[in-house]
Symmetry: C2
């Protein structure tokens, strides 16, 4: 008579694809593993004492407000602060253009919810951010992908891809995750012009933009769109811009934001209300208290110095320990670099071999909507491990790579799983 | 050449229904308005100092962890605490049965995302919680509704409603929002037996269960389902249970939870990962620090005393100031009572008339999936205003009601909008 829920449930729920990277990351949790797999900031740069002061001030002066329900749009002083701060990058936004989200991940979810009908094609870079694919997949997205090279999206292939009529483009112009590459300025112009020509909106995801370790800051697509197309009526144009405090302040408080025209914001606000009512009032007020007196600039400088060193240590270690057949990107900022191994390498096998050496990475196939195109790549994170761990981890990984490569080249099988 | 995003956007986004209550609530923000419209806890009962201590302890001892990314499932000690705490209500759950969500609202969104395909019918009480309708509407839900009376859901009408094959039932058994009524024990048994007979899962939403001001605690549907149907294999059965810290601790930190079988939890975790990665690590650790040493029991006692008094003041004021044709529910707990006016009253008109008297409520039609069935009801919140404000607000509202009623009965038009 009684069908257990577990069984009933299986008949009733939609298919939810289990996340490969989630399963992989579990394997990398052992303390002896040096993991380049996650995308975590270094906890030693979190401004813990400043957070403590801010909590004290917020709860002391406005405790009743900080613990109460608040507006779905976000805490107004924080939205004003963000609008002002973005002006330095040429982004002209008022408070009505800013929606606070529960991390950038929620921005992606709300955008998917608003724009994607089952079967809609989304144009993405190949490879692209896994979390965006996860967010969009739920709404039945399909994909058109355009490859990247060392200057970012291959805009020479864009015109043809746009003819297939994607609903929107999802682009990470700065220090792309996972590729580590930056879209060069001429291609930024091409991209916004083509987007306009075909009438395809761009979602510009910029979590890492402030973490630049060399070279000049490049203008956001949002700004180029307005400048190129003379959208100087004060309205935002064809680009929706996302960013976050996760990489500059702290990811644990889950605060990101969307910049969009007010009529887009008001639809997103409705969806946010249905999704979680609002982001934590307390975290928003504390974050505002932490950043609002110019602290973020000085803090970002400190983070840049720490991560620049770690990137340089990783690049030097790769040059020292990796076989010459292997190549990698030289990221000008961000958290990741992208390593290309020779054709035919089995990355799942290499992942297992590396784990036996107590070192971990993410196999590249996770970052393609199709799944398997990137099978000879690995993503390495350089922000979380300290310089000593980075050197040692790359040494171990270099050994595993060299061994796999030798086996691959000589046709001799190594390991137990193959 | 350049189509502005605003225009393009209109062609590309899905329809997002604007929320009537959202617009109404904006009108009630003037400081001179006594608002019974929201569903806000009283900020004066928030344990602000204890939060301050907890922030100090969490950041002092584990700052790096509190500000870092964390597991989508939630902070393990908090999940363990909740599993243990729920045992006192007969809910036998382990840590694997508990998912932390960004408020109960996110639980509703994730459930909608997992279960609802466009056109699926959901069985709801009429009236029901507006936020659930908002969460489910996005996924294309349609509704079958069963009325409530003073003993909650009319289970005598349930059998027929279940024959229409709803995907699941959404039920608020304790001090229902907006009705203020509680599902009596015999009907709880009937409900779980009928759910089992038709194989229709129940979503049991219990945000207010601990805020009981009189009478005995009644067993959760989750427990009755297991007991009645001898699901004593240690597995949870046909009921998925939701609750939250919003009404017992603080809503601003956005922490709720779902209790479900592990295989349901694991699918919801995947969806949560795509939705916001995880709820605020910091808020979870602070909440755990606030509650874990038995504080919640003593605090809930205090809240109960404050809200019981406010409920009693409102009931007394209604008896004193409202015309005899008007009736209302007598809630044994929770935050709301539900007022029924005579047939034919225009509630939108009454809402405007009340606002001119500087008092606000929510018109009942917001709480029906169809929209207009409840047009002669109003929802009144008694938790947020203090006793003096409650008496004065009900006096003003009574005046507006009496005037509208007189006009309605004599056919004389009052006001300017009619």
């Amino acid at each position: 008579m009684s069908t257990p829920w577990a069984h009933r449930f299986a008949q009733r729920t939609k298919a939810v694809k289990s996340s490969t990277i989630r399963e992989l990351l579990k394997l990398t949790q052992r303390p002896e593993v040096i993991s380049f797999a996650g995308g975590l900031p270094a906890p030693e740069v979190f401004p813990v004492e400043r957070f403590e002061d801010a909590c004290h001030r917020v709860l002391g002066a406005k405790g009743g407000m900080a613990l109460q329900y608040s507006a779905s749009e976000g805490y107004t002083p924080l939205r004003e602060y963000l609008a002002q701060r973005m002006a330095r990058y040429g982004i002209i936004a008022g408070v009505d253009n800013v929606l606070i989200t529960s991390g950038s991940q929620q921005a992606l979810d709300l955008i998917g919810k608003l724009l994607i009908n089952p079967g809609d094609r989304i144009l993405v870079e190949a490879p692209t951010y896994l979390g965006a694919l996860q967010a969009f997949n739920v709404y039945g997205a399909e994909y058109v992908s355009v490859p990247i090279d060392h200057d970012g999206l291959r805009t020479d292939q864009l015109d043809q891809a746009l003819r297939s009529g994607p609903k929107f483009m999802y682009i990470l112009p700065n220090f792309q995750n996972p590729g580590g590459v930056t879209l060069c300025e001429p291609r930024r112009h091409e991209l916004v012009l083509l987007a306009d020509k075909y009438g395809i909106p761009i979602i510009e995801d910029d979590p890492y933009g402030q973490l630049r370790y060399e070279g000049e800051h490049l203008p956001p697509l949002l700004v180029l769109d307005r400048e190129n197309l003379r959208r100087d009526d004060g309205k935002l144009g064809n680009v929706l811009y996302l960013s976050t405090f996760s990489k500059t302040l702290a990811p644990g408080i889950r605060l990101g934001w969307i910049v969009a025209p007010p009529d887009v914001i008001s639809k997103l606000v409705q969806l946010k209300q249905g999704a979680d009512l609002h982001s934590s009032t307390f975290d928003q007020m504390v974050a505002y208290e932490v950043v609002h007196e110019g602290f973020l600039d000085e803090h970002v400088k400190k983070i840049r110095a720490v991560y620049r060193e770690r990137r340089d240590v990783m690049l030097a270690a790769l040059a020292e320990y990796f076989p010459p057949e292997v190549t990698w990107t030289h990221p000008e900022g961000g958290l990741f670099l992208w390593v290309a191994l020779p054709e035919g390498m089995d990355m799942q096998h290499l992942f297992q071999a590396a784990l036996r050496e107590n070192v971990a990475f993410v196999p590249g196939d996770c970052f393609y909507p199709g799944g398997d195109e990137g099978s000879r790549h690995m993503r390495l994170n350089f922000s979380h491990s300290n310089p000593q761990q980075i050197r040692e981890g790359i040494r171990r990984l270099g050994l595993a790579v060299a061994r796999e490569l030798a086996a691959h080249q000589t046709g001799v099988l190594v390991g137990v799983e193959r």
